[in-house]
Symmetry: C2
Subunit: 400 residues, 2 copies
């Protein structure tokens, strides 16, 4: 008889966005006159279309697939060299040296942060921040791994630091953080790298929002820290950088330096293991997407993307300004598309969700959906349209 | 200290196509005057470009991503309903009823046949045919699962049948088969479904080459067999059907009927587990690819694809005709893009590889790369150009 992976019984229902949708629907049905007023600043999806150079590149690549002479079938599972090299150049322009052959192109940071768990044995201690992007917890729960949490709180600016009394083998860090928008500085990341090197631990560094960093003193890559190539894997994506949430292009850096001992006294290379994993269970990102994705990393392509990011930054500024005026404490908004704030009047996050929906017709994300430490917090995103964000903030302003 | 997944030490190096490339390179260097004559009928990649309606649809979808009003961000992880419904219609036209909501759209049958292993506990007996597509073995080896083999031989036409003395929990079937081109008939699949139902086993049915079936009596889906929805998952792909090897669109059917008991007396639904897996570790196939992929399943789109498949079929016919004339026993060629034949003169498959390369400058795939039972067999594919295939067969004809 087939035996199923019963760890799935321990994965909590992913009810957060479903529950948000349900509550919004109930409100719309009970207040039909207000339905048109609802402004959604909850889900972290972009609203601006793809940039001009990406659209042009997509058309070019499609045309090349229409004729035998230029038609591309199976590509390298790791991604085309032209795309790997474009990314390595982008890193270099940001002052970080990454080998093109250490870059694996994929279809999503969610896929890669999930699939990477396969490379690790069951008996590891996995350290995850709370609040946190739920995928880190769910994927390790599916694997039956032992998860422990580190607290992100107002006191540490939602940037938990290593604790020598806690022995972790695998450490998830997300900076700029989803959901809190908080961003580690160089000294803080140095402390994490030192901890990982001392404990032979691996850092899984989610840097999906790096393009939102404007402060030049903040690292945009874990590899800006010396020694990180011996202890860290980095996950990046074009989802928010270039509006690729529906177009799908990500990249993961697994340095060749990541070699660890095995129980039989040998060694295994995480780079070689990930390469084997991708060659066995993946056939590469579509050629037309890679062709267009590579354009994003050129100076011209990134300039266009930064214009779009600038648009979202202006939304973040409006939200932050409103919160400041009201004396509400928050993280993010600068160097991040997310704004994370303490619910006013001591409200619990779902209570505040209902309050904001009923009184201002604004939809956000309750912090409780990201962990225990989020239960009195709320997330707004800057990915909306200017007019809608402005209107939402005017209502917020009148409400409190 | 981080503990790596040491099962990776047991995965054999994927040397098959690397070794082929190495031997061809050595030959080219030692025989530069013959290098231009080499004809490659080894790797199973298509050579015809994308069809007209797919190219048009890709351009349309790209244009829709250029403007806010039609821009698509995150889509459903399961795939867009329009694509699921197009596939369900295609099944219906082939006489099989599959619910649109049981269809999960993905980026590759390789991804899905690999990732599906996550849903099963370690302590299952996995039954795999030999010869076999190496991914089934490698992915289960990475998981540390117990793999047993069933022999595909000349005696059973490379179509192994269930053996009541063998207790398997998970069964891989690939029909039309890669590498042998052999295709199960209805009675044979009924026997497999009966075995699975009797033993509470799950069949993982790889149907990636179904569009090559011309014999109307041969099932193109495991769901043509009564009871299959209670025991089988089916994997399909547009890679060979529509030349999507570099464009990436696949679909996997996980029927809601697939419910199994857990050790604590409860039940788990494979449909719900796969849904949870995909929602947690995947963000959907790119919108533009889904939009174009859906067109393939229309009557017009499939007509164009069948014209291309017809082109490859003519290659298969030429190869089969040559083998018949020489009295060489083979499977496939009809209802399949692959032709699998016994190496002439009792040669071992790598020996024959060298012989054919040196004497006819034709590159194929040695059967040894697919398992023990392949060591005296050889695979040729019909995915080349007519002129090249014709020329290769003329040389073959003169050689033997």
């Amino acid at each position: 008889m087939v035996k199923l992976n019963e760890n799935y019984q321990n994965v909590k229902d992913s009810y957060l966005f479903a529950e948000i949708a349900r509550r919004v629907k109930v409100y719309e049905e009970t207040h039909p006159e207000k339905a048109a007023d609802i402004i959604r600043l909850g889900i972290g999806d972009v609203t601006l279309p793809l940039t001009k150079s990406v659209i042009e590149a997509l058309h070019e690549a499609v045309d090349s697939q229409a004729v035998s002479e230029t038609f591309k079938g199976y590509g390298p599972e790791q991604g085309y060299a032209f795309a790997q090299e474009a990314i390595a150049d982008y890193y270099a322009r940001n002052g970080v040296e990454v080998k093109a052959t250490d870059i694996f192109i994929s279809d999503g940071a969610k896929s890669d942060t999930g699939n990477i768990t396969e490379l690790f044995a069951k008996d590891n201690v996995v350290l995850v921040p709370d609040p946190v992007y739920p995928v880190y917890v769910d994927t390790n729960t599916m694997d039956g791994k032992n998860i422990i949490y580190m607290n992100g709180t107002k006191e540490n600016d939602f940037l938990p630091m290593p604790d020598e009394n806690v022995k972790a083998d695998i450490i998830y860090l997300c900076s700029p953080n989803n959901p809190t928008g908080a961003c580690y500085n160089k000294e803080q990341l140095e402390a994490w790298v030192a901890y990982a090197l001392k404990n032979d631990a691996v850092i899984l560094y989610d840097s999906a929002y790096e393009a939102f960093i404007t402060d030049p003193t903040l690292p945009r890559s874990i590899y800006a820290i010396e020694g990180a190539k011996k202890c860290a894997i980095e996950f990046c994506s074009l989802s928010k950088t270039a509006g690729f949430t529906g177009t799908r292009f990500s990249y993961t850096v697994v340095p060749e330096e990541l070699v660890f001992e095995t129980s039989n006294g040998g060694t295994l290379s995480l780079h070689n293991m990930w390469n084997r994993r991708q060659c066995t269970k993946f056939n590469g990102t579509p050629y037309i997407i890679q062709y267009a994705g590579a354009k994003v990393f050129t100076e011209e392509g990134m300039k266009e993307c930064q214009e779009n990011i600038g648009y979202y930054r202006e939304n973040a500024r409006m939200i932050a300004e409103t919160l400041e005026k009201k004396g509400i404490s928050f993280t993010g908004g600068v160097n991040s598309p997310y704004i994370w704030f303490e619910c006013p009047k001591g409200m619990e996050s779902w209570e505040f969700f209902d309050y904001l929906l009923e009184n201002a017709q604004v939809v956000g994300t309750p912090g409780a959906g990201f962990g225990e430490n989020g239960k009195n917090y709320f997330r707004l995103t800057s990915f909306g349209k200017h007019e809608k964000t402005k209107e939402a903030m005017e209502r917020f302003n009148s409400l409190f």
